[in-house]
Subunit: 333 residues, 2 copies
DNA sequence: GACCCTATTGACAACGTTGTCATTCAATGA
DNA sequence: TCATTGAATGACAACGTTGTCAATAGGGTC
């Protein structure tokens, strides 16, 4: 900047004004300085700016073990997209589930004086942020504060479950199986509630004999018994015409069992998943109709909440889980 | 810091010395100041530090459309793990494949005076970084410079292909099918080379009639013909005893075809994949033996190369693709 | 001609940190 | 006793930017 000022024969401040589209600057001066700016390829120093203004354009993003559910990175993409244009950026780091490291990261974020922090979880759960001596705003993504003392953006699993059941019911299915996820997960509980509500709304009685657990044990060492459940359901004399799968991975396993038993999808059996992991839902044949986890929107929403926040009450914000229609469900007519 | 100095009754500089474990400071003074440091929860301002020293502890990470192959986020994790301890962090942003936005990001990285930039691609390919007027070091991850004028860290697909074939050959398979990926991809070419080399090394002649394309068209609008290929291979009178799959998604589709035809894995047919997308490889039944793409190591290596670089020649660094043995291959005895 | 107004520009300080150099003080050796 | 050393500490500048306020000049009004 100094260099530019020197070459253009103006003061450093005038250059600053031009860089910031500030106040009134003579058009001729502006043009002259501009030329040198582009010629020297000047880029303002964020560190200096921030020091001067005390404000930062950087938002911290802390994740836990994000790798487990691969598509949760979409939270990051969503956050980025919300930052577009506002020239903001993301400083990201992963705690890998280690509380000590998490403390370290809070310090790190403070050291960078980030404008706020988003804590993103890999699956819908509660989280205790604690009191990280951090003045800026904290928004939880894909998780919520144990005491709801902070803003949490979470998928509306209840509505998603409702969607699953409603879709099948509306297409004439009445005998509907359900293979659940691990009992301890929030998603399991919420989705089930949604499903039951859909049955009630449709005036169809819910047959809980057709609801089987897909996983047993304790997270994260649970074992899958999806195949057993699938075999059981598909071997009933009065076989269900459709199965609601706890998620896409469950659906994938049911596909395979169905193929082994010569049950064809969707002719003999309709399946609906949850999560919309494209890797699965678009690779299976036929492609899987499923309910999507709105990771992208969660990330986007988290950033937006951070911008607007201002302590507008500390509740959870639910993001809808849209149905993605593909080819695994048949209408019974 | 000023506040701490005031409270401890020392100069600002002394506090600085203590924070940086600098030179000689009287033990008593140190203890006294320390107390105030922790009490006020002091964290040094990175922006100021950086401005003073001109050095930054932040590395930029630019990705293209990272969402498509979900596990490529492991590059980010790897990069982070290499940064551990050195209190470095990642400033990340995604170009979403838009060259204009990419330019913008280079500016942004310059504005933050990052110590270097890692450009990470979602799949193994060449990339033209151009001349982004960026003084610091640039390392390509999962891609390489068109002219090899920059350091590129890429998976050793050739060796991975070799591994796939070697494994099956060593277990007695001789009649081995191969369903390839889209012809235009580097991975396709390299893996095929590796496979052929393995056959040669084993003294087995390579039967190219058993090699079928799994995809046709032009990326990224290709269409999958994996099922056709699988049906064809499995209906041969002299059916192959094993199939090498271009990647795990291909394997997944072959599983389903096999189930439909009553061909059981691994009794009647051995399958080996590529990529090790856990979502697939660990969910399929039986679990898929495959060759892993070392995303994590690529990210880690990229950061390490950046630290050591010093223009040690601009070639590609290959990272090995390890075999992950599970249950989809049978030994013929 | 004295006055004011506006448009344009520049001087200076400050943000929080650390490198450089100077200062103080006590202990050591001659 | 006095010069010399070394340990401990502080004053000050500088990094690149921008907010504040002052300065300059040209143009118009009375």
């Amino acid at each position: 900047m100094r260099e530019v000022a020197k070459r253009a024969g103006v003061s450093i401040k005038t250059v600053s004004r031009i860089v910031n589209d500030d106040a009134a600057v003579n058009a001729k001066t502006r043009a002259a300085v501009q030329k040198h700016l582009t010629h020297l390829n000047y880029v303002p120093n964020q560190a200096a700016r921030q020091m001067r203004s005390g404000e930062s354009s950087v938002i911290g993003l802390m994740t836990d073990v994000i790798t487990t559910t691969p598509y949760s990175v979409d939270i990051v993409r969503g956050a980025q997209s919300a930052l577009q244009g506002s020239h903001g950026t993301l400083l990201i780091a992963s705690s890998e589930g280690d509380p000590e490291r998490e403390q370290e990261l809070w310090r790190m974020f403070r050291a960078h004086r980030v404008a706020g922090v988003i804590y993103a979880a890999m699956f819908h759960r509660s989280h205790d942020v604690g009191q990280p001596a951090f003045g800026e705003s904290i928004v939880l993504a894909n998780c919520y504060d144990v005491n709801d003392h902070r803003i949490g953006i979470v998928p509306d699993d209840e509505q998603g479950g409702y969607e699953q059941a409603r879709y099948l019911l509306s297409r004439g299915h009445r005998r509907i199986g359900f293979i659940t996820l691990l009992e301890a997960l929030d998603a399991t509980y919420l989705r089930r509630s949604g499903i039951r509500r859909a049955f009630k709304d449709a005036g169809v009685s819910y047959n809980s004999d057709l609801e089987l657990p897909g996983y047993v044990g304790k997270w994260p060492t649970e074992t899958s018994i999806v195949r057993d459940a699938a075999f059981k359901l598909l071997k009933y004399a009065d076989r269900p015409t459709a199965i609601i799968c706890g998620n896409d991975a469950v659906a994938m396993q049911v596909y395979s069992v169905a193929a082994e038993l010569g049950v064809s999808i969707p002719q003999d059996l309709s399946l609906i998943g949850f999560d919309d992991l494209r890797l699965i839902s678009e690779t299976l044949y036929p492609k899987l109709t499923t309910v999507a986890l709105p990771y992208f929107d969660i990330g986007k929403c988290a950033v937006e909440m951070m911008k607007t926040e201002r302590k507008t009450g500390h509740q959870r914000t639910l993001v809808a889980c849209p149905l993605v229609e593909r080819n695994s469900c048949r209408a019974l007519m």
